[in-house]
Each structure stands twice: as structure tokens, then as C-alpha cells.
Point group: C2
Chain length 456, copies 2
């Protein structure tokens, strides 16, 4: 329940852009995960940093929890109002503020989505590479330290955010970082706030690096009798200095699902997909090098292409994977989890995970960004079945503990949210006390996205 005086002041300032209508609350109380929805008490739509300051200041004054919201594509319950309060929808803040072609950077409002940005950049010769799959907002991607398929070449939001404008828990605006390509001036607040999941500040503007659109792109696929052989191919490729732009692994079950769903005829064994960016001769050379490495490692059915339509054909299995997997268990919902391990341990981690999966009662496809050592499980559960959910949680727990034991992380790109709260201490130990001290310093009233990232 919101304090009546708070709601009154909010309405006075925002009029119809404050709503307590159930549909809006429900829409803003869920993400794309299987975590149960938790609607906020109200939703407010801000259109400027100044308006965000107004909202934060009121929340600060009345101790009302405040959850920033872009388009709700996160998957660990980041936007759920588990302690009530309001959701601050930033999707109307969608102006592209400055495109600096010579500097390869752009400044946008937090609500700009990556597809919107790339559409705008289309004729500039530049593009924004981070691609988490969903058409997320840049603010959300910064807040969750998003990455995706081509992080192996272009990095994650950690490497690509140059600066931020944020509103602190007490309503102050600060600007972090800047447009210089590098700086040694003071503490790196930008990186501290990237990945803080709305718990330290509200991000209202983001400056990111752009990259040149490659002159040529080629794609290659290859099947492998075992995951070990696929991973050895990836390790050798990276050690040889091939600047692979994407490097994806699909396991045999995923291929089976895709064959069935998309009427393909792939061998039902682990598949590697690579994409290469560079000059015309460069991408041909890269594909050739990878073909040689793959062949040495027992690869089969190597195929590569540089024309757009041919590349799309090769990538179809990857693009259709998620939908195809859902159909392995009709009516199911996906519990999506991800871990990331040093790539030398990836084959072991996948092998042990597959052995674990074999003991479960549900189909669980596995695929991921193998160049980074990052992979996903799509655990197909009946959302109404407590047994399914419990089994998924137990499997997830074992997966994370396995990754941590191998020197990995509890999440490569999905974030902590509420879904991985229990693992933070296991992963970071005493360092969590420093995270907690920073949270308490910057948000002593714990109004910013409470209940996420840290147990206080």
C-alpha cells in the first residue's frame, strides 16, 4: 500500500502518467522468466531525467520502493515488485541524443532499444553490437550488464558503456565516465553502476561505443560427435587469433528440436556456429582456418557462406532454437538459467550437466556462447507443477555450484535479480560485504529495487 500523500503528490506531478490500473500493474510486475509475477502498487511513466528526479525524491521522502523498468525482458525477476512500491517506466525516454560518427559513440536516453538504435545507425557505417536476443533498452542492458552472441568479439556492456547519467537514491543527478575513449581520472563509477540492476541508481542516459559495420560477414557451421571436440575447436580458434565475431554451441537435443520444428535435416549431434567479420578476403581466410581446425577435431558437415540468404540458412537452427525447444514439451514455460566457466572447463561442465540432466524428468536443451564459456539451460517446466519447479530449482542449484567449483560464475549474462540471490555469497564470499557497504552508502533507505542482487 502506497502512502496516500505520496500517491497524491505523484498524481499532482504526473497526472495520467501515474496509474494503479491492474492491467498496467500486471504488465510491469513480470519479466520473461518463470518467476511468479509481483505487480507494483503503481506505475509511473517518466519522460526526462528531471522527472526521474521528481519520482526518486518523492520515493526517498516517503520510503517507497522504486523499480526502474525498460521493456521487461530480463529473466531473473529483476523488475518484480517483491516489496511493493512503484515501477518507473522509462520506455518513453527513447530519444537518441547524439550520434558521433567520427568518435564511434552515441548517447541515448535509457528507453531506447537496441533495434531502434541500430535502425538509426543503418546509414552511418556503424552499429551497436551487443545483442542479448530480446530487443532490450539500452538502460536495461546497462543495468544488467547484458551481453549476448557477439560478446566474444565486441565485449559486453561492461566494455561498451563509456558514460552514464544517473539519478541517485536521494535525487541527485551525476554523470559518470565521459566520451573520451579511455580515462584514468578517479574511480570507475560507470563500471560500478553497469550491472547494478537498479539497486544503486536509476540510469537515465547511456553513452556507448559503436563499431564499424564489417565490410564482409561470413558464417560457418560444423557438427561434432562430442561437445569436447567442439570446444577444442573453439579454444584452438581463439588461440590462433581468429577474431571470431560469434561462436555458438547447440547441443544434440536442441538440434533434434530444431530438426523437428523447422524441418531441417541436421545430424543430431553438437553443432558449432561461427560468424566472421572483416574484409572479404579476411572472412574467407577466417572460415578456412576454422574449417581446418574443426576437421582436425573430428568436425563433420562443415558448411560456410558469405551471402546474406545463405548465412540465414546456416543460422536458422540457432534462431529457431528457443521456440523449437519450447515445443519439446507443449504447454511448458522455460526456466532459463546461464553460467559461465573458463573455457578450458566448458566441456567438463557441459558433460557433467548433461549427465545431471539425464536424471531429470524433463527435456532440457543446452546452448550458449561457447567462445566466452557461457551456456544456457532451457528447463522446460509445467508452470503449475510444484514438482517441476522444485526439480528445476534443484538442477539450477547443482549447475551453479558446478560452475563455481570450476572457477566460473553463477551467471554470465542474465544477472542476479532474485533468481540467483542465494549464490552471490558462494561466488564472491567476503567481497559481498563490500557490495553491501556500497549499497548502504548509496541507498541507505534501500528504496532502489529492494530485494535484488543483495540480501541486506
Amino acid at each position: 500500500m502506497l502512502p496516500p500523500a505520496f500517491l497524491e503528490k505523484l498524481r499532482a506531478a504526473f497526472g495520467e502518467r501515474v496509474t494503479t490500473v491492474e492491467a498496467a500493474r500486471l504488465h510491469h510486475g513480470r519479466d520473461e522468466s518463470a518467476h511468479p509475477p509481483a505487480p507494483p502498487d503503481a506505475v509511473v511513466y517518466a519522460t526526462s531525467t528531471t522527472e526521474v528526479v521528481q519520482v526518486v525524491t518523492l520515493c526517498h521522502q516517503y520510503h517507497v520502493p522504486l523499480i526502474p523498468f525498460g521493456v521487461g525482458t530480463s529473466v531473473e525477476g529483476h523488475v518484480l515488485a517483491v516489496h511493493g512500491g512503484i515501477v518507473l517506466d522509462l520506455s518513453c525516454m527513447n530519444r537518441i541524443l547524439a550520434v558521433n560518427v567520427d568518435d564511434l559513440d552515441v548517447t541515448v536516453e535509457a528507453g531506447v532499444t537496441r533495434k531502434q538504435l541500430n535502425a538509426r545507425l543503418h546509414d552511418s557505417g556503424l552499429f551497436f553490437p551487443i545483442d542479448p536476443g530480446a530487443d532490450a533498452t539500452l538502460g536495461g542492458m546497462a543495468a544488467t550488464r547484458a551481453s549476448g552472441t557477439n560478446a566474444v568479439r565486441y565485449g559486453t556492456m561492461r566494455e561498451n558503456v563509456l558514460g552514464l547519467t544517473v539519478v541517485l537514491a536521494d535525487g541527485r543527478i551525476i554523470h559518470t565516465g565521459g566520451r573520451a575513449r579511455k580515462s584514468a581520472a578517479g574511480y570507475d563509477l560507470t563500471r560500478l553502476l553497469v550491472g547494478s540492476e537498479g539497486t544503486l541508481c536509476i540510469i537515465t542516459e547511456v553513452t556507448v561505443r559503436l563499431h564499424p559495420q564489417p565490410e564482409a560477414v561470413s558464417a560457418a557451421i560444423c557438427m561434432f560427435p562430442t561437445v569436447v571436440q567442439a570446444v577444442r575447436t573453439v579454444i584452438s580458434t581463439i588461440q590462433m587469433g581468429v577474431p571470431v565475431a560469434r561462436c555458438e554451441l547447440l547441443d544434440a537435443l536442441t538440434i533434434k528440436a530444431v530438426n523437428r520444428h523447422s524441418k531441417l535435416n541436421l545430424r543430431e549431434m553438437p553443432m558449432l556456429l561461427c560468424e566472421f567479420h572483416g574484409s572479404h578476403s579476411g572472412v574467407a581466410e577466417q572460415a578456412k582456418t576454422v574449417q581446418e581446425i574443426a576437421t582436425e577435431n573430428g568436425g563433420l558437415d562443415f558448411d560456410w557462406a558469405s551471402k546474406q540468404e545463405e548465412r540465414s540458412r546456416l543460422w536458422q537452427a540457432r534462431h529457431d532454437a528457443y521456440l523449437a525447444c519450447l515445443q519439446l514439451k507443449p504447454g511448458s514455460r522455460a526456466v532459463a538459467t546461464d553460467v559461465c566457466v573458463p573455457v578450458s572447463r566448458l566441456a567438463d561442465c557441459i558433460a557433467e550437466t548433461n549427465a545431471d540432466i539425464a536424471k531429470t524428468s524433463m527435456p532440457i536443451p543446452l546452448f550458449g556462447h561457447v567462445g566466452d564459456g557461457n551456456f544456457h539451460l532451457v528447463i522446460l517446466v509445467d508452470p503449475a507443477s510444484k514438482a517441476d519447479l522444485d526439480e528445476a530449482a534443484a538442477l539450477n542449484h547443482r549447475l551453479v555450484m558446478r560452475a563455481l567449483a570450476m572457477g566460473g560464475t553463477s551467471t554470465g549474462e542474465h544477472g542476479i535479480g532474485i533468481g540467483k540471490l542465494e549464490f552471490l555469497e558462494a561466488e564472491h564470499g567476503e567481497a559481498v560485504s563490500v557490495m553491501r557497504a556500497i549499497k548502504q552508502t548509496l541507498d541507505p533507505g534501500n528504496i532502489l529495487n529492494p530485494g535484488k542482487v543483495l540480501r541486506l
Copy 2:
């Protein structure tokens, strides 16, 4: 003056590895800058993280300032004991703890130097690319967020540090980050501590990314009638997606100094040096592309080479630049400063700076890492002349203000130390209060490198 009980306990624990001998104090009370030396009251040599904990715990207990020290190659007074206290020399912590070739990472103690590391990696097919010029320690490079000539391709310490072991001001040990290539698990403490210049913690171990040794390397040089033409060449090169590994600019005065010092015969105009890493055909293609761009932009005397000895000849001007410049004013000492601006403003920034330099009484060569928009002035002063030092300080002040006005930073890679304290507020505004709050949270007694980075 150190508390006698403190010194007694320190001696009891460290024996001869504690010294108050003047020579040791003087050696540890200066860096490579023109900042006046400020020796500590004692120097202690630690050989393990456990010993660092012992030292920090004593300093915490007796409120004694503590300054971590690698090899003293920083240039903004980072290691000067401006508030007395002790210097903690970490150069004996020089073990390479784990080389993980398959994962392209290595974990080292803080006192390992970059040349030591690369010597060890020589046969691995990998290398550690960050090269700030001096043979700095990895701990020092992490603490100052070092970069150098090939940051344009490989990034800075910000992008290359995967994890840290550090000792906090109260003696607790924490491990930040990890060996996974990416992670979305919690606040990015690694990045917060990288560049914190010894003011938030003592770094005792560093895990960094490694990169494949390139199959081939080529180098190119080109002279330009104006800096504008050289910078346009760089901008186009980067926009074209040429993955240039190094991209350096030397101004006409630097070329003049090098011609005189090294008996070269270069046109006395701005010179661009590039280095390319890749396959044999790739580096040839890159050099050819840059030659075309340079020619379009009025470049002269383009020369390129891929053999080691030929490349060394091309790079001689850059390698000899610093010594050659010092001889422009015999007996001088260099006040080295650096700024970094968006590359679109670099030509303007250099032009205005050159106009400013023309009004000074001393020779001031300019060169830098133009691919990043980062350049250095080597202000040649008579260290005994207050007039010279004042003139240098005034020029530096105008340089930084100019860079900030152009959207740049007060230091691209040297850091704040004591030399750029006055600019932090001008650059970051209210964000400095957040840095200060973090400092006060993590080091409430202000014992860690007091007087650096922040005015408290």
C-alpha cells in the same frame, strides 16, 4: 613520525624487511615525475598477501598512512608519502601463480612486471599487450588503470583485468571478479578497484587476460603537412574497421628532436606510426588500406615493413622520442602530462595546445596514442627554476581545461595522484561526492594512500 609501538611491532614481524634507512626511504619517496620527493618514515617489504594483511592491520590499528609501491614508475606523485607513514614495497611478490593457456589468462602476484610476464609467456603463443612504456608491475598497472600504445586494439587495464585479490583497509582479504570471461553476478568491484591508485585497497594478486601472439606484424609510417590530416587518416582508418594495433602521432618538434638525436632524416612535420597484427595477408591488406587513406589525406613518404628489423627502423623515432626530447633542453627534467579527448576534437585540441605552447619559454614536444584521442606533453623544465615549474603548471592547467571543454578527460592514462587532484571536480562534478562516499566507506580512517585521487 611513526608511533614507536607501531614500529616495534612491525620490526618484530618483519625483521630486516622493515627499514628506516634514508636511502631506502628516498628511493621509495619519488616516482618518475617532476613532483618533489616525499619520503615515507619507513619502508616494509612484504612477500605474501598474509604479510600485507599484517601490515595493513597494524596501520589500521595505529592510524598510520600506508602507500603501496611496485617499481615507482608512475608520474603523478602516486607513491609520494605526502602525509608520512610507510611505503609497502610489493616488488618481492613477483611469482607468476598460474598460466592458463587454454583460457588465455594468467594470475600473478602484484609485483610481477609486464616484461617478466611476457618473458614467461614467450613460448606459449600468448602475450600480455598492455604497454605503458615503463616496465611497471601488474599491481601498479591495475592500481593506476594503465594503458599505452596498443590500447586502441587491446584495451587498457580496465578491459584486461579479470579479477583481483586485495586487502582492505581493515585487513580483510577479498577476491573480486574471477576467471570467467564475463559475469553478471553482482557489483563490478574489480573495475571499481582498478584505477583506485592504492586509496581503496592494496592489490596483491591480479588475473589478466592474455592475447594470441599475432602470426604477423607490420608497421607503417607516414608524414603529414598538418596534424588535421594525420587525425583524419586515423578516424577514417578506424571507421573502415581496420583493427590497427598501435597508432601513434609525433609532432614536428618531436621529429626535429629525433632527427638531431638519432641522426635520422625525416621531414620535420607530424608523423603517424601504425602497427598491424594479424595473418600475413591481413597485415599487408591493413597497411595497404591505411596507405590509401593516408594518401587521400595528403600523407607523404609512406613506408611500411613487416620484417622485424625493418619495423624497428620505422619505430626508431617513437622509441627514441623521450630521450631525444630531453636533449632539446640539456639538464632539464620532464613534466609529463596527458589528456584524452574524443578523437573528433583531437586535431582542434592539438592545434590550440600548439598555439599555447608557442607562447611559452620552453620546448614542449607533443606525442601520443592518437587512435584513442590520448596525447602527452613533455614539458621540459629546469627543476630548480620556480618560474619554469609555474609556467608548466599554468600550461598544464590550460591543457586540461581545454580537454574537458571538448568532452575529454584530465588524464587518459597517467592517473590523478597528487598532480591532477585539482581537476577531478571540474571533470566529474557531483560524481566526486560518490567517489568520496565510497572512499569513506572502505577506508574510514583514510590510511590508504591519503592525499591521492580525492580531496576528502
